[in-house]
Structure formats: structure tokens, C-alpha cells
Subunit: 359 residues, 2 copies
């Protein structure tokens, strides 16, 4: 694969070469079907095989227990921000832990539909910090506790999840799902937009304990109704068939290279060399608190907006793309999801070193 | 392109060879960017160019006036069934014309959110018929009139649209958009799931008169809020980036071959040879009323469920795939969207002739 760049975008983001090669191989004619997966009816035998294989592959890869269901939902994580309170509050208060932009958005959306209690808000420390268990204050009897496992914009990530509670934990894992093993049973619902570690934009993957799904209020839009989607196995209407297929390819690739324990090892290694470099550097400044740092999104800066802009521009000329930080944080951000090879991080560090010397 | 079949699926459905070739060509490296469109951040310059080009191309192709906006929405047409009443009834009654399964679903979804008046229901003639203007009875002051322009399951299609009304006409054109020129100004909102004539599953395209978009009720889920999506140019959250890109390729292809007048000519020709054959045949029976027949979905049967099943199976062996009718109608259905070449229809007729002789 020629002339490919290292794409550090926060999402949609880089795909593994193996995934793109598998897609290209099957583009015109999937397994002798005479058609592209893009052209397959979602009700056809051929597509249903892909669909089941993807679900079963994900179940195996994440070690998802039998009492959980995988739903492919429309509208990305932002769709989930609405469907979660619409389906799961059942008249009770919902607790939200705010550690960044997306957990704030999730809480704001939930406020439309019922009582929301903010169990923690990291605003005052500018979201550089993931709270300890004792920093959280839950309401008396919440329907659930919602958190965002990895904060793409700020570059922070939960290392372990709250256990001192008697309710259902819900995690938006949009930017760190499949980056490491997770004990699914600790959660009532794990969900993720697919466009970071699960392939391409167009689906939200929801892994939900089946007993949580009850008949939803009649006012819930059908495409957001978990009971309906469960009944129809995510085919209440035409699902985003191609993103589901690409997810299957991502799952195959991860399984092939050794599963989530192996990718975690690689992710730790990749992040370590970058953070070690940042910590040793006098030129660059790391954004997130050390203990809260994300393995997926590394936020830093040159300490000067103009230098940061020059850095991002010059890096792009060198095949290191999309390093500009999010406007809420400024600076720079290297998103190093599963598909980013170690070589990409090494090349980035080399560039950083050159840039620091020159500036 | 070798060993491709003719795919008569109702959707997701066949793509033109030209579209698939363009996709494959750019799969690893879009215009020297060093990345696939699948990997592009929706906020990146490269992707925004694709996005704008797609919107502008569609605007030109459909001759969409300046006072309309194109929105890319989540959740397919079924998502629109909810978002339309949520955004546009504004406390008034909504009128629905029911000519098949999907217009019925649209009306049922709207009933969740307000008063619905059924202006016509074709149930008693088993949805073989598209009503004349004088068969419609509208309510006194409806917020809008909703209809489904082409009924995929029953194989019927509106030839001209109601004009004797003083309100906003909304049309679900999921299965005949881009098949012929349409006067956009006759409608307040035209929408379509992309997976038939607009590419692949994952987006609903909404073409809406801007003045209809007002601040929606606070209870509307953000991803269904037209005012929010308009404000964010369909990027309130990550849109389904790849389906939008594929739509752009479809638009390029149609523009290249001569636009909607030309594709209409071809569609009329394709449908005519198939309907003429059906009308001349004593073996096959056409489902829809002659005057209401769809150019996109041709419903027929051998008059016997076992024979129909044998037909579909044998046709598939001959590279004519997905001809089984929808379970609500039974029989057979040939979906001959824009991407189905005349040669595919000719091969189908040849097969039909052989099958009729043998049975």
C-alpha cells in the first residue's frame, strides 16, 4: 500500500492496512456472490451471514456474556445520548459523571427527558483529571450511572471504573472500545460510535444486559427503542450495512493478531514511548494529569499557539496528519488508536525531536 | 468487472459499475491524501470538499432551489418518520396518505406525537392503486400532507402529485428519488433513505424548504432536530461519512450520463419492456393496477407460491438475484433502480420466457 500517511485524526480515523486490503479484495464480488457487500439486501442470506459473523466475532473478542445483546443503533453516540434516558431512566434520576465534552453532552441530552444528578464535574480542573471513587457523589437511587471511558478531546481515560454503587453502570467507550480487555459484566450498557476503533462512521454499537430492556414509553422514536431493536435483531429498518461489515473486518484483524490482551500490550507500548518522550522534553507540555492519561488520545502542546499551528502544518507535510488539537483544548493531539502502528508513533517522535531542535 | 450478477433486490441494491470502479480506484488513497475516505475526519479539509461537492452536485442534478437545504440525517427513512412530526406538526394535525407499508409506518410513528388524519388508505384494494386527487380527503388545516412517492413492496408509484391543497407536501421518495426529474418546489420536504437510488445504507437525505425549519421542541432528540442539524450543516455529530461520499459518486455518474431526464428515459424504457412482456404473457400476473405501476419495483407472480419460489431459486442460479417478492405481497418482484442496466431486464425477460415454457 503506497503513499499512505500516518493519520492521527480523532475519528473517523485510521484503519489497519489489513482491514482496507480485505475490503478492497471483496469490493466487487463478495465470496462469489457476484455483488459488493454495499449492494446486499440486509435481509439476504449472504448479508445475514456477515451480520451474524460480526456479532459472534465481537462477542468472542470482547468475551461478552450470554445475557448481553449486541445492538447496532443509528445516530452514533449522540443518538445514544438520547436513547439511553428515553429507554432506561424509567422515571428515576440518572447520575452522570462529567469528565469532558461528550459526557457533558450526554448529561445535557438526558436532562430533556428526566432528572439528572451530576455525580462529578471536572470542569474546574479543565478536564485534565479522572476522578477517584471518593470524588464521586451519587444520588440516592439512580436508574444508572453514566460515564465516558475515554475523553477524546482532553486525552484522559478511566483506568478502573467505579464499584461503590448499587446500580447500573453505563459507559460511552466510543474512543477506547477494543483497545484493551474490559469486564463487560461490570456494565449494564457499553456503547460506542464505530468510527474510531470499530471501523467507519454510521453505527453505534450497544452491548446491553438484556434484562435492562423493557417495553419503552410509546413516545420513544422507533429507531431509538431498544425493545423494538432487540425484537428485530437491529433490523427494525435497514441498518448501516457497510459499517457493520467493516466492523467484522476489524474484529477479524484483532482476533488474528492475538485479541484484546495483545492489542492492549501494543497500545501501552505505543503510548509509553510517546508519553516518556513528552515527560523528558523541555519543549513540549503534556495536557492531561499523569495518572489520568489516555492510551488513545495524547494531548500536548509546544506552549505557543503559533508554534502548535506550525507543528501541525509541518507534520502534515511529513506524512503525519491531523495533529491539531480540538478547539476546546487547543494545542496538539495524537490519536493513536488500535490501527496506528508503532512505526507511526516512532516517526512522530522523530519529527517532534527535529521540530523542538529547530524551534 | 467479472462474474457480477444482476441484483434485483429492493434495497440495499445494485450500484452502477462506474460507481463501484470509482470507489475502488480511490479506496486506499483518495486524491493523493494518503488515506481512504473511510478514514477521513469529517472535519478535515479533504472530507469537507467531498461533502460540499456531494451537496452541490445533488443540488444541480435535482435542480434544487436556493431556498432549500440538503440535510444528511441519521436513522434512514424510519428515523424521518419520527423527526417529521417532531419538527413539523407544531401542534397541528398532520395528514397522511397511505398507499402501502411505509406510508402506514410513517403515519403510525406520527400518531405518537400528535393528531394524524388519514386522507386516504388503499388497504381495501390491497395497495394496488395510487389515488386520484378526488379520492383524497384532507383535514381542515393540516400542518402538512405526507405521502410515499413509490411503494417498494407493492410496486406502485405516484405519476403526479396532489395540488388541490393549501399546505406543505412531504414525500418519502426513498425508492424513486433520482429516477426522474421532480419539481422540488412542489414539496416542503423530500426525503429518502440512500440505499436504493442514492448509494448505500446509512443516511437519509432530506431536502427541505428552509423556512419550515424552526426551533424544535426541547424534547426532540438532538440527532432528529432539523434546526440543530441545519445550524451544524449536518455535522452536529459525526455523519455517516462514507455513504455521503458514495452518494457523491452516484451523482457524478448520473450527471455524466446526462442527468435525470436521461435516466428517466432509460427507466421508462426498462420498465416498459418488462411490463409489456407481463401484459402479453398468459403465465405471469402483474400485481399493481396498470395506471399505478412503479418504474422502480415491478411486482408479479406465476400465480402459484411454489412456482414463484422455484422461479426465484432458478433465476438466482442464472445470475438474476433477489427476485422473491416481499412477504406482504408474496410472488416476485424485480427492483430495477437506476443502476440496473437494460441488459439485466432483457436477461430477466429471457429467463421468464424460458421458465414459462418449461412450467
Amino acid at each position: 500500500m503506497e503513499n499512505r500517511v500516518y493519520n492521527f485524526a480523532a475519528g473517523p480515523s485510521m484503519l489497519a492496512d489489513e482491514v482496507l486490503l480485505a475490503i478492497k479484495e471483496e469490493l466487487f464480488n463478495y465470496h462469489g456472490s457476484g455483488m459488493s457487500v454495499m449492494e446486499m439486501s440486509h435481509r439476504s442470506k449472504g448479508y445475514l451471514e456477515i451480520f451474524e459473523k460480526t456479532k459472534n466475532g465481537l462477542k468472542k473478542l470482547m468475551n461478552i456474556p450470554d445475557d448481553y445483546e449486541i445492538l447496532f443503533m443509528h445516530g452514533g453516540a449522540t443518538g445514544m445520548f438520547a436513547s439511553i434516558p428515553l429507554n432506561l431512566t424509567k422515571g428515576k434520576t440518572a447520575d452522570y459523571i462529567i469528565t469532558g465534552n461528550f459526557s457533558k453532552k450526554a448529561a445535557d441530552e438526558a436532562k430533556k427527558y428526566g432528572d439528572v444528578h451530576i455525580a462529578y464535574d471536572g470542569k474546574e480542573n479543565n478536564y485534565t483529571h479522572i476522578p477517584d471513587e471518593n470524588e464521586l457523589s451519587f444520588s440516592a437511587d439512580p436508574a444508572y450511572i453514566h460515564l465516558c471511558a475515554n475523553n477524546t478531546i482532553y486525552g484522559t481515560e478511566w483506568k478502573s471504573f467505579p464499584v461503590n454503587h448499587k446500580t447500573t453502570l453505563i459507559a460511552d467507550m466510543s474512543s477506547d472500545i477494543l483497545s484493551k480487555p474490559v469486564n463487560v459484566s461490570d456494565f449494564g450498557l457499553i456503547y460506542a460510535g464505530a468510527q474510531k476503533n470499530m471501523g467507519i462512521a454510521g453505527i453505534a454499537v450497544a452491548i446491553i444486559r438484556k434484562e435492562l430492556i423493557e417495553e419503552a414509553d410509546v413516545k420513544v422514536p422507533s429507531i431509538m427503542n431498544y425493545a423494538l431493536e432487540l425484537k428485530h435483531d437491529s433490523m427494525l429498518n435497514t441498518p448501516a450495512t457497510y459499517p457493520i461489515y467493516v466492523l467484522g473486518k476489524v474484529v477479524d484483524w484483532l482476533e488474528e493478531l492475538g485479541g484484546l490482551a495483545e492489542i492492549e500490550k501494543r497500545n501501552i507500548e505505543k503510548a509509553k514511548i510517546l508519553y516518556d518522550y513528552l515527560d523528558a522534553s523541555k519543549f513540549y507540555k503534556s495536557f492531561a494529569e499523569k495518572e489520568s492519561r489516555s492510551l488513545m488520545n495524547v494531548t500536548f502542546s509546544c506552549g505557543d499557539p503559533d508554534l502548535d499551528a506550525a507543528f501541525a502544518a509541518k507534520a502534515a507535510e511529513n506524512g503525519l496528519c491531523n495533529l491539531k488539537g480540538h478547539r476546546l483544548v487547543g494545542g496538539l493531539r495524537a490519536s493513536i488508536y488500535n490501527a496506528m502502528p508503532k512505526a507511526g508513533v516512532e516517526k512522530l517522535i522523530e519529527f517532534m525531536d527535529d521540530f523542538a531542535r529547530e524551534n
